[in-house]
Symmetry: C2
Subunit: 249 residues, 2 copies
DNA sequence: AAGTGGTCTAGACCACTTC
DNA sequence: AAGTGGTCTAGACCACTTG
């Protein structure tokens, strides 16, 4: 790292956030892209003109996502295999991002919109009364012209009070719609993963080969304060490589 | 929390680790098992006689695993839905634990042990030379009398130098064997998840119903310093509920 | 205004690795 | 002995929520 390395500017954001973003950038493509270790915490602190605490907070963020490993007496070691991973199922929540990352353009078609009334399972998962109104949106997602996901979203009708739900463009990612129309940001997601052969309708829509099985993600999305706001069933073909980092802490 | 609450003892372990273990215990079954929030950081620090930093470190660990959420101006909110989850695929690496958690006794049978020579894929994944000797161990794992996993482990023969590998009891979890015979502790694991119908042999061993699909975890286990030491292919029936917490940070 | 968690500083000591 | 990351202290100020 050059002696004169400095933080670009202080645009109101947290220093530790800036530092971790900077370090990640340099890890992936920049001055540390060929390194085995990062400079010491004390050195980084001096170079960037912040306290060691700021550096440590930044490194903790990066470590939590698995990109570095900190070893006492040795230093901050870069985990190349992990930095180079794409499509981390444990980090990304949104499939359009995955499609773009894979070099394709995401499309949505076969949209089916309807009202249902919450059964016991959905009522409990979404924390609404049994029998209350739900908006159900089914759709097919394609990467370029390759069908890769069939998704069924369940949302409480009450979230969209004051908006005519049929006016909404449901081809957009559900996370974006919840944000735009309800001011709700999904930050956490409990996903149950199973393997399935699905029914004929879905297999046909996804053009699944006879012997091929599908991944089913049964997800509940939560906003801040553990508030469940959506459930979605997503059937994935083998188009994606779902990778997951599991760590003992 | 009672006024006289104190840390049980200081057995040489880190204070923040003790504090987080204590808090997790109280969250699950203890005095916070019915609470919506934890006491404030300052209060916890005073009650437990440590600095706020120690408390914050402990809370960070618990937050990273999704069990609490910290909200400025409000406090430390408990995520009940997450505390109550079992079988978190993103936290547990070892299936015997999952089986025990589900209330069954794990058994292993149909063990097949052999030597193979590394193909290109395994050579790259395990960071060994192509053609080098690998120990391959296939086995079936049961929960009680229910077959639920078929696993194929690949390990470099060189790891077991000085030990006759045929003398080892391969029914034990591979993590335990690596620890006991090689002094290697697997701390990280990159897992690729796919759905499969598997071949007839495996389907028969797992007594899979005709329409049922299987989850295949293709894992590479790493020790400290990004050292790959094992690859394993694990076929799971739907015996397990694989749950995963995904978080935006 | 009071209380909460979030960030940052400055400094200390410890455990571990390397030379 | 020197350098690394790990932990802990004490104190400060900030941003946000609640009464």
């Amino acid at each position: 790292m050059p002696d004169n390395y400095e933080l670009p500017h202080f645009g109101g954001k947290l220093m530790s956030t800036q530092v971790s973003a900077l370090l990640m950038k340099e890890l992936k493509n920049g001055i540390f892209s060929k390194s085995e270790k990062l400079p010491s915490e004390v050195e980084l602190a001096e170079r960037l003109g912040v306290s060691r605490t700021v550096i440590r907070d930044a490194l903790s963020d990066i470590e939590r996502e698995g990109f570095i490993e900190r070893v006492r007496g040795i230093g901050t070691v870069i985990c190349r295999d992990i930095v180079n991973l794409t499509n981390r199922l444990d980090l990304k929540l949104e499939y359009n991002e995955l499609i773009v990352n894979s070099g394709y353009t995401p499309y949505t078609d076969n949209i089916k919109l309807r009202i249902e009334y919450a059964d016991e399972e959905n009522a409990e998962l979404l924390n609404v009364d049994e029998g209350s109104k739900l908006i159900v949106c089914e759709k097919r997602v394609l990467a370029g012209n390759i069908p890769c996901i069939y998704s069924i979203d369940y949302l409480s009708y009450d979230l969209f009070s004051g908006i005519e739900y049929t006016d909404i463009d449901w081809s957009k990612p559900i996370f974006d719609l919840l944000d735009k129309y309800c001011g709700l940001i999904v930050v956490t997601d409990i996903a149950k993963i199973t393997a399935t052969n699905a029914d004929e309708f879905i297999r046909e829509k996804l053009q699944v080969q006879p012997k091929q099985a599908l991944i089913l993600l049964d997800e509940v999305g939560y906003c801040k304060l553990s508030r469940p706001v959506m459930r979605s069933l997503e059937f994935y073909t083998d188009f994606f490589d779902f990778t997951m980092l599991r760590k003992k802490f």
